[in-house]
């Protein structure tokens, strides 16, 4: 079987490695329009701030592809996929055949604002090249504006702030991190950013980006020497245009990560997931661990070993300045009357914790300021265990896995 993978990132490489472990001989080809070997897109803010060097963003050694016997076509863009012929066309004109195809093309920046044509100080930050450009521009600039108060926007804002720039963040919604925080947590976070000298403007709409600043729809003008756009992503699916592959918000795949077409699989940011925590909500869940896992599941099934993706839920973790924060599952429940929540808030210490339940199941959690043992909660959410016996203890100071022993756990071979 001839395996072809588009995308040399979290999902693509994870799939290739999985295939290689199962099948030592079938040819594997990874195609990427980027020139770099596998690097971490998530480290782009750290690369910009200088915390991570270019070398540090690389996730595999130079000899990785050779050792794994993987063919690479780097710097080649896939223009079109021909499912009928099991081939695809590269922008160089070359045509490649595939037995099984994995689309792991990720998601690109969504640029939803009007921009003056020809300006050179407007950036996105999806690739390391983008990042290099931002980094260079930051050397000259004094003021930077980041459009987008989501996770990536704030990460970029913090990175630029650490380089000494005067940074303004523009957010569409009233609160920061609108999908991962609630209003209290968002407010604490705003204090953290403002306390570190970042201007935060929320509830604003950008009407136009010019070379010397950003005009808001309310007439305000934010003067800046550079503008970085980080407001949402859109799946990279152009190459599937005109095919039968079912597309929703992203590529639609089943639990084996297979599309509606026999030989085409999809994994990572490009996929439209169903939030298994609630009501069949469909969404793009652009996070690293999910891409790795979907890549592994896709790879395994492509190589003939059946495995199912356990389902997608939101989660993210980040540290802004000295404040770590973790958000898992469904954290906003306005309008859902069956939910109940427990909150611990220590204003002085800037510690905020919130758990969201639906009866005796955990649905979501926010940890801000203090995140120890968060993983135990994440797992309770993921496994949708009945937490009735330990409900009151979930936010106690001594909470940990020890408490879970009361709840049936399948694999505990290591406990005598």
């Amino acid at each position: 079987m001839n395996h072809v993978i588009i995308g040399n990132s979290a999902a693509g490489v994870s799939a290739a490695e999985t295939i290689r472990v199962i099948d030592r001989s079938s040819p594997i080809t990874i195609i990427s329009d980027e020139l770099h070997t596998f690097y971490s897109k998530s480290l782009i803010p750290d690369f910009i701030s200088g915390k991570a060097s270019l070398e540090k963003t690389y996730l595999r050694t130079d000899t990785f592809y050779k050792e794994m016997d993987i063919n690479t076509l780097f710097g080649e863009k896939v223009d079109k996929v021909y499912p009928g012929k099991n081939t695809l066309a590269l922008s160089s004109g070359q045509e490649i055949e595939y037995g099984k195809l994995l689309v792991a093309t990720g998601a690109g920046p969504r640029v939803s604002v009007d921009i003056d044509t020809g300006i050179e100080n407007f950036f996105t930050a999806r690739t390391i090249e983008d990042a290099q450009a931002v980094k260079e521009a930051a050397l000259q600039a004094r003021r930077a504006t980041v459009i987008g108060a989501g996770l990536i926007g704030l990460k970029l804002a913090a990175a630029l702030n650490s380089l000494g720039l005067e940074v303004t963040v523009l957010g569409k919604y009233e609160i920061l991190l609108p999908r991962v925080m609630d209003s209290t947590a968002g407010e604490i976070l705003r204090e953290v950013f403002e306390g570190n000298g970042v201007n935060v403007l929320t509830g604003v709409k950008v009407s136009r980006v010019s070379s010397d600043g950003v005009r808001l729809s309310d007439g305000q003008y934010v003067a800046s020497d550079m503008v970085v756009m980080a407001a949402g992503v859109k799946p990279n699916i152009d190459m599937l245009e005109g095919t039968e592959v079912e597309i929703g918000g992203g590529i639609v795949a089943d639990s084996q990560m297979r599309t509606n077409l026999e030989d085409i699989y999809a994994a990572g940011d490009v996929v439209e997931d169903i939030d298994f925590l609630g009501g069949g909500r469909r969404f793009i869940n652009p996070i690293w661990p999910k891409a790795v896992l979907q890549g592994r599941i896709a790879g395994s099934n492509m190589a003939g070993i059946k495995r199912n993706f356990p389902g997608s839920m939101m989660m993210n973790s980040v540290q802004f300045f000295d404040t770590p924060l973790i958000s898992v599952g469904i954290v906003l429940h306005e309008g859902c009357d069956y939910h109940e929540e427990v909150i611990r808030y220590n204003k002085k210490e800037k510690v905020y914790k919130k758990l969201i339940f639906e009866k005796d199941r955990l649905k979501g959690a926010i940890f801000l300021g203090e995140i120890d043992k968060a993983g135990v909660i994440t797992n309770l959410i993921r496994e949708q265990r009945d937490i009735a016996p330990i409900k009151e203890r979930l936010l106690s100071k001594s909470f940990g896995y020890g408490n879970i022993l009361k709840v049936p756990v399948a694999d505990r071979a290591w406990i005598v």
Binding site: L43, V292, G375
Partner: protein, 159 residues
């Protein structure tokens, strides 16, 4: 292959393992001297309490470990030679993705240097420091087969 097993009923909650772990991961390897080190050595084993039981817990070195999947920097890795989940503090950026996903909650943080901290199973030692430190034998460093024998032996006795 030897692993750390936990004989839960035996833990008395003295936290000797926690102290031994920190001493082992200190520069001086001496309790008294370790107290004045900066940064202070962090524990990688946690004595937890639940359901009337005291549970000493450290990294389970999962296969297909969630922390390895989640790590955005490549700092958390599976080492196929030792079958251990290893962490490289030089690479770690302190994003705490691993803390978010470890189902056992055994990844700690070195807050000042902003790196994750977790059990390395004292790979340089014959026996992990926590196991050696346990005065009651609640922590065992042995193979699955041996543990099964023990478990079955107990079941038989209980009959």
């Amino acid at each position: 292959m030897k692993e750390i097993f936990i004989d839960i009923g035996r833990c008395v909650g003295c936290k000797s393992c926690e102290l031994a772990c920190r001493v082992e991961h200190s520069r001086s390897k001496n309790l008294f001297a370790a107290l004045s080190e900066s940064p202070l050595p962090r524990r990688r084993v946690f004595v937890e309490y639940g359901d009337g039981k005291k549970v000493p817990l450290q990294c389970r070195h999962c296969c297909e470990a969630p922390c390895v999947d989640a790590c955005i920097s490549g700092a958390m890795k599976w080492d196929s030679e030792t079958n251990l989940v290893v962490h490289d503090r030089e690479i770690c950026v302190g994003c705490w993705m691993c803390v978010m996903v470890c189902p056992f909650g055994v990844i700690g943080r070195e807050k000042d240097s902003r790196v994750a901290i977790k059990c390395d199973r004292c790979y340089e030692r014959d026996e992990p420091a926590c196991v050696e430190a346990c005065p009651t034998g609640a922590l065992l460093f042995t193979t699955l087969e041996e543990t099964e024998k023990l478990r079955r032996g107990r079941l038989v006795k209980a009959l």
